[in-house]
Subunit: 335 residues, 2 copies
DNA sequence: CCAATTTTTGTTAGCGTTAACAGAGACGCC
DNA sequence: GGCGTCTCTGTTAACGCTAACAAAAATTGG
């Protein structure tokens, strides 16, 4: 096996030029006669020649590959982000290499980054939603283009984030506007920046309305933990409105409320976050907040590409505003 | 920027050996004196040396990268598979490069494969659940290790599949065992092998029980299409049991039945397929079929690796049996 | 203890590409 | 018409690694 395909010299011989001219044609160098260019193109097509990325990477020092480090690509958010990233990268002629990681601790992150580095990726996107990830990033070689997504806002690293605070504020305000006296919150794990931001936004909206935020109930993004929180919420007669940190938590809450015979939205209103494709088919259809993953992917890739091209490692940051999606899980409180 | 890291010769100089000895240590060659090995290791550590994958790929003709071609990595199945694949590959020292594809037609698939090929990946895993993908695969260079997942069983290509037929049969039989006189089916898109297999299994179970299968209702995997089918089902008084081709379809059906006031499982029983993490928190908790994505990933990677190592392109195939997960969405029919 | 082996190390030559420079025509200008 | 200036093309030398061979050192057997 391994009948290696034709190389540049083979194309050159067939076209009657030097391999360097072939290289020029391939890289769109301006100073090539039109006629020559066509001959070379024809030879490339005839031989089915495909440039060798490894050789190119060796000589230029970087490949056309972007490394992505993410924790759990099964979760809806990361999966969507990854898909969008891949799509965008493909359009720019880049491949995406995933390095998923079980835990977001120093060691795991560093290992994943190392793996990417040894393949000489052109740049790295780290989906780093927790504290410990930021620390691992600080020790990274400074000369590799890097963008973090949903990372630590307080670190001087190029960063793209969904505006969690604004999203949570909108969700909470929506419940307040419906007439609720206060809003309870089922949060994500508190070491995630996403969670912190969403808690913040929720609290801000409450405070702005002159309300005293009740204690947030911590979940772990899963429907299971949402269910547990929902069981508690269902037993508290004063609860009329709940904002959950994501849609899966909301699903669990919905199910618990249903079991306790508390009707949504008539007795209790619920708002989620993420707008998973199924949210419109929950019982009842879930009002939620939709982050624009495509926009996040586009922004981060653009940021990365500009670093790769310019060579400068700017510490830009960009925030993507999410949108409230109103469905049927919110109603005015009964009086 | 681009302060290139140390190369093998730098390590060699520091350790007082030739670069080739460093190479031997790195590749675990047996004939190196223990003392030398340690000196080299120390030098590697001191310099923070990292081997250059591109150079290695250039000289050996293949990289430590596996290319994965998949359609929609946002769907639960493909996403889980991809994550599992990545995990397994990492354990074997391979990176995974994703090439997702909007449509599974010849052109898109070929383009994705081409991209992988030009990066000289060591092998390719194609998650090819539809007909047209199989055709694109036939024209591939024969010398590149290849494994298809959930692809066309009738093609002579190494293949790993979930046993869709057995899973669907188990689901249908479970409903029959509960006492239902027949079972309706909301299917996936009929150009997916997964769908075909699940339809087959459902039909087999019915036929084996001496029953005449009603016409399957075609969906597209989404909750939205499940909802539409559910609306029809809800209007048909004779329907007491439904098997849906995946859990999201089931969610849509559940919601439609709920809207029409038809209670699950008291009036109608529902079984899904996939066991998404949320299925246990549907209303009611969904009985479903769980494919073992980890096992699929492990099997396909192992198959690929053995091709890479041996150089022979065997046309093996392996089938992973799924498991029925019983929850609360099934009950005997009312009489 | 010397020749024959085996183990360990070094030397050289690519892999396929791009970068840097050099050469060959074509063209315009004084 | 000669000379500088373009435009186009070719030559050579890396990039960092492994494979193949060659040499040196250590080990064995009689």
């Amino acid at each position: 096996m391994a009948v290696h395909g034709p190389a540049m010299t083979d194309v050159a011989r067939l076209a009657g030029v030097s391999h360097q001219t072939v290289s020029r044609v391939l890289n769109g160098h301006p100073n090539v006669r039109e006629q020559t260019r066509l001959r070379v193109r024809a030879a490339i097509a005839e031989l089915g020649y495909r440039p060798n990325g490894a050789a190119r990477a060796l000589v230029t020092g970087r490949s056309q590959v972007i490394g992505v480090v993410a924790q759990n690509t099964t979760l809806y958010g990361p999966a969507s982000l990854l898909a969008a990233l891949e799509q965008t990268a493909a359009e720019e002629g880049f491949a995406v290499s995933v390095g998923s990681v079980r835990n977001l601790d120093h060691r795991s992150i560093s290992a994943a980054v190392e793996r990417h580095l040894s393949h000489r990726v052109a740049g790295i996107v780290v989906i780093a939603p927790v504290e410990s990830a930021g620390e691992a990033l600080e020790r990274l070689p400074k000369d590799v283009p890097l963008v973090t997504v949903d990372g630590d806002p307080s670190r001087p690293v190029p960063l793209v984030t969904v505006d969690q605070v604004a999203g949570a504020r909108a969700a909470t305000q929506h419940l307040l506007d419906a007439g609720h006296r206060t809003v309870w919150h089922v949060s994500g794990p508190t070491d995630w920046f996403d969670s912190v931001g969403r808690i913040d936004g929720w609290r801000q909206a409450l405070l702005a309305a002159g309300l005293d935020p009740p204690p947030p109930m911590p979940g772990d993004w899963s429907a299971a933990s949402g269910y547990r929180c929902g069981q508690m919420l269902a037993r508290m007669p004063e609860v009329t409105a709940v904002f959950t940190a994501n849609d899966h938590l909301a699903l669990g809450v919905l199910r618990a409320l249903h079991e306790f015979g508390r009707r949504v939205p008539h007795e209790i209103s619920v708002v989620g976050f993420d707008d998973v494709p199924e949210a419109a088919y929950f019982i009842p259809p879930l009002t939620t907040v939709r982050p624009d993953f495509d926009a996040v992917a586009r922004a981060s890739l653009q940021m990365l590409l500009s670093q790769i091209e310019s060579g400068t490692g700017g510490a830009l940051r960009q925030t993507i505003a999410p949108a409230l999606v109103v469905r049927e899980s919110v109603a005015p409180p009964r009086r």
